[in-house]
């Protein structure tokens, strides 16, 4: 298991700092987490065997720095901040992976700064809209813990799911603080996509030049699976892969297949 180290990078002209988790060696890979927040899982660990993985915390979700979200007003600020982050890390060209909410950010970043992105992987991304397949932030923000488990996963008993979703039991108020962190993270990420994550990506996505891989769980109950093909069509050069027995969290539920495919695709 890799032990990521944290590095703090000033962005937006120094108005904001982004905390990045870094592990592994090799060509640089930027990973943008989902609305549930940063979590060093087996998927990232496997990637760190082959790449130097940079996994930033979305503003407001880094430990001990909740109020940094106040410095982000909208999606445009976030895209600019992440573009600044590439400069701050001295990365001219990266492989970019985004999951769900992070998939939206990754697609936006790749459209905003196409030359900086070598290859793009979108895992169950949000950000496009079809009238016949509606979804809103309420799909995950308006649910209680049990409902969220039902909607996120194909198999709630999967050991990786259990490990990710079980609050810690050691330490004062550990479980409560875990819950605070999860709710706060949902609130921070929701800030730039509320109430519907259709913020105009469709008008920008044609700018993406990087070869792209779109991955979707066949049993995703959170975001309709029709969006796999929708992203596949909207991107210039995309391959779509559907994962069996998998909900909205492929890194947890289909880690092995996903890792192998992503490794092959990224080269």
């Amino acid at each position: 298991m890799h032990k990521p180290r944290k590095k703090v990078i000033p962005v937006l002209g120094g108005a904001l700092e982004i905390t990045v988790n870094i592990a592994g060696t090799g060509k640089p890979l930027l990973y943008l987490h989902s609305a549930g927040g940063y979590y060093w899982d087996d998927f990232l660990d496997g990637l760190a065997d082959h790449y130097k993985v940079y996994a930033p915390h979305f503003p407001g979700t880094a430990p001990g720095r909740p109020n940094e979200i106040d410095l982000v007003g909208n999606l445009w600020d976030v895209v600019t901040a992440y573009d600044d982050l590439l400069d701050g890390l001295g990365l001219k060209k990266v492989r970019l992976i985004g999951h769900s909410f992070g998939g939206l950010l990754a697609a936006e970043l790749a459209a905003h700064h196409p030359k900086a992105i070598d290859k793009l992987v979108l895992i169950s991304p949000i950000g496009l809209w079809r009238d016949d397949a509606p979804y809103t932030v309420a799909n995950w923000c308006a649910l209680d813990g049990n409902e969220l488990m039902d909607v996120l996963f194909y198999d709630k008993q999967h050991p990786r799911v259990v490990r990710r979703m079980t609050p810690p039991s050691v330490g004062k108020d550990a479980a409560e603080l875990w819950q605070v962190h999860l709710m706060w993270t949902l609130g921070c990420t929701a800030k730039v996509i509320w109430p519907i994550p259709d913020k105009g990506l469709r008008k920008r996505i044609h700018r993406v030049t990087a070869p792209s891989l779109v991955v979707w769980g066949e049993n995703d109950k959170l975001i309709p699976t029709v969006y796999a093909q929708e992203f596949g069509k909207a991107l210039n050069n995309a391959e779509v892969m559907m994962l069996p027995q998998c909900g909205h969290e492929p890194p947890l539920e289909q880690c092995e297949i996903l890792t192998a495919k992503v490794r092959e695709f990224l080269g």
């Binding site: 909740p66 308006a142 649910l143 209680d144 605070v180 706060w184 609130g187 929701a190």
Partner: protein, 409 residues
């Protein structure tokens, strides 16, 4: 002591098994299939009749409020109700207390500055301008704005409205959320410099600081009774002292559902169903719908989840009338008992503005009118003078044209 009549305008006839069949009485509950349109039409008129009757029977003011997409209380535009009430009470001193039109639900929020000014004109200077932060679910689920923006929009909307009332010249407003090239409202309020401002809240320390800094009156709205509220209200008074404010009881309002019967023994038969309906059905509201992620500041969220100052709404389902009444969630009994219990609440919390909810849950129009009558005759006269020996002035009560004319004459 000032005593106002508050109304939520609920759906009064939900079926007995309602909360078992539906996830929530709020936001996700379909109107069609639940609501009888003719009944709803009747409810709005009953609500206006009940509030008007309360004003005529001796209450000092009438309170309306704003919520959306629910069966709990759907006075979606309190100013429409307030303007009817202003007209129906013309020539009296009844305060028209808007608790209120929620500025952050509107864009641009100067609409509130305009409507309140208009209402102050129609009421001839009897308006109390309520500035609620607004319920998180209303703001984010019904009206589509990000939970994290609510407080910042509130602060900005407040500054904009105040400036729209006070500025002598038209101005441009360049806010983070609202940009207006020409702010120049017609009319401005009749009361100068502006109507008294009350801010409702449920014990958020950031709201206390806001209220005390601006020298407004705070209205503590809780579902969990005066006993549970005591330590929170003490926190408010402590904060007032820290910020150099006096202990004027008119700095605090408090809301209580009240039911008066001939005897204590009859209270359960008369108000038991209505109380349980209110707590079991009206507050059938999952927490994540009440306050979406991001609605609270990080420190408030941490406090809420680690300390749990309120019981979760789901616990209310296991409670029944005797507990609601014992814990002062509702105050029901004979006029004598209700008077004593209210006096105790008023004195313990230092309440200057008592707001009474005479209609709650399923309580019928007839029972509500009877209740208003009993409260007015048997309770109000014994509460009025409670603060007289301390000689405080209520700086947060409207000075109507009629009052000023009487004073001049």
């Amino acid at each position: 002591m000032k005593i106002a009549c508050f109304h939520l305008m609920p759906y009064r006839d939900l079926p007995d098994d309602f909360e078992k069949k539906h996830k929530s009485a709020w936001f996700t509950l379909p109107f069609d299939g639940i609501a009888d349109r003719h009944k709803v039409s009747q409810y709005y008129n009953w609500t206006l009749d009940e509030l008007t009757y309360a004003a005529k029977s001796g209450f000092d003011g009438v309170c309306t409020n704003e919520h959306h997409q629910n069966a709990y209380g759907f006075m979606v535009n309190p100013n429409m109700m307030g303007s009817v009430l202003a007209r129906a009470t013309r020539g009296t001193d009844t305060a028209i207390i808007q608790m209120g039109e929620t500025a952050v639900f509107l864009n641009p929020p100067i609409r509130v500055a305009e409507e309140y000014a208009m209402l102050d004109m129609i009421s001839e200077g009897r308006l109390v301008a309520g500035f609620p932060v607004g319920l998180g679910g209303d703001f984010s689920y019904s009206y589509g704005m990000a939970p994290m923006e609510q407080r910042s929009r509130y602060n900005e909307a407040h500054d904009l409205i105040k400036k729209a009332w006070l500025s002598k010249e038209p101005f441009a407003f360049n806010g983070k959320h609202y940009q207006l090239p020409m702010v120049n409202i017609w009319p401005k309020p009749l009361q100068t410099p502006h109507p008294p401002i009350w801010v409702p809240g449920n014990a958020s320390p950031s709201t206390w600081d806001f209220v005390l800094k601006h020298d407004y009156s705070y209205c503590f709205l809780t579902y969990f009774g005066a006993k549970g509220a005591e330590h929170m209200v003490n926190g408010y008074w402590r904060r007032a002292e820290e910020l150099g404010r006096d202990r004027n009881p008119y700095r605090l309002g408090f809301l209580v559902p009240v039911g008066v019967s001939d005897t204590d023994e009859k209270a359960e038969a008369e108000y038991g169903h209505a109380s349980e309906y209110f707590y079991h059905k009206g507050l059938h509201l999952p927490e994540q719908l009440l306050a979406p992620p991001g609605h609270m500041s990080h420190s408030s969220l941490t406090h809420l989840i680690t300390k749990r100052p309120f019981p979760p709404f789901s616990e209310l389902k296991g409670m029944h009338f005797p507990q609601f009444n014992d814990r002062d969630y509702v105050v029901c009994g004979s006029a004598k008992t209700v008077t004593q219990r209210l006096l105790n609440i008023i004195k313990t919390l230092r309440v200057g503005h008592l707001m009474i909810l005479p209609q709650f849950g399923s309580l019928s129009h007839e029972k509500t009118m009877e209740n208003i009558d009993r409260i007015s005759k048997g309770v109000l006269p014994h509460l009025r003078n409670v603060w007289d020996n301390e000689n405080w002035e209520d700086h947060w009560w409207p000075k109507s044209v009629a009052q000023q004319q009487r004073a001049a004459a």
